[in-house]
């Protein structure tokens, strides 16, 4: 018992050896100890529980690991960029022609007209030909529309009523 008291004094002075600390811990781990030492028991049991605290093992989840994997991130980025470019290129209906620097692109019977002046002549002639066909085809339709616009029913009825009034006044 006296030995424990001496060890305690040395412990609080901070001069105990490892072996002496083991003796103290073993003593205070017992269920029954001297009543005068009861007050120190929580201290040593706290040390005991402190000893049992183990730093948690830090493991990176697989999913997070994958995100940090540089090649995969590059792959995903590259795929996204490629898809975006493909989307833009395909979305533009005139994309193929937009690639050409020239104002005109003409193929006659499968052969490209590389001379821009000639290409322009061909293009204008062909567009004009199509426009003429459309104009001629729609001419009767346009004429009908024009006649309809001129046929204002209110105006016709007003004119008629004026005529009738004139005739009536003459008769009277």
């Amino acid at each position: 018992m006296e030995n424990i008291d001496k060890l305690l004094d040395k412990y609080f002075d901070g001069i105990t050896s490892d072996e002496e600390e083991i003796i103290l811990k073993e003593y205070f781990s017992k269920e029954e100890i001297s009543p005068q030492h009861e007050m120190y028991k929580p201290l040593f049991s706290a040390f005991e529980s402190e000893k049992q605290i183990v730093a948690p093992k830090f493991t990176i989840p697989d999913e997070l690991n994958e995100k940090k994997s540089l090649p995969k991130r590059i792959w995903i980025t590259a795929a996204s960029v490629a898809a975006a470019i493909l989307f833009i290129v395909l979305l533009n209906p005139l994309s193929k022609n937009a690639k050409t620097e020239n104002n005109y692109l003409v193929y006659i019977n499968g052969k490209e007209i590389t001379n821009q002046e000639k290409a322009q002549q061909y293009a204008e002639e062909m567009f004009m030909q199509a426009e003429e066909i459309i104009r001629v085809s729609y001419q009767p339709f346009e004429e009908t529309k024009a006649i309809k616009a001129e046929m204002d029913a209110d105006k016709i009825f007003n004119d008629l009523s004026v005529e009738i009034n004139n005739i009536e006044s003459i008769i009277q």
Partner: protein, 149 residues
Amino acid sequence: MKKITTILCLLFVVAATVSAQQLEKLFEKYMEDERFNYVYQKRPSVMDRLNDINEVYSSTVTIYNTSESLGRQMLTLNSADAALEENFSKEVVNALKADKYEQVSIVRNGKNRVEKYEKKTGNRLSKVSFIKNPGNVMVSWNEYETKKK
């Protein structure tokens, strides 16, 4: 799971885009074909644009203050082969249907037949004239960027 979702989304976007451009595919398919003539004009001249402006104003789409041509192109089949004409005509109609063009008019004048189609996507207006004459089929495709009044 995230990767699969991303890939599926990308595939969906690409598939939707590809399927929506059948007319462009048709032009690309035949532009260099020796049985066809193909013309493309990037920026129509002012005189050409006068006709275009009237066209845009008289279209079924809302009236626009102004429009800018994004280019026009035309594919012409000159052939005495009636079967080829018929097949090409079917391809054109199918492409227009696949691209969800709306037919706005059909006019017959003698042996000429002109069909007009339109499609509006965002501020882009696409107008297609499909002309069928005996021994001659033309598809004219005009693109405009419209600005609402």
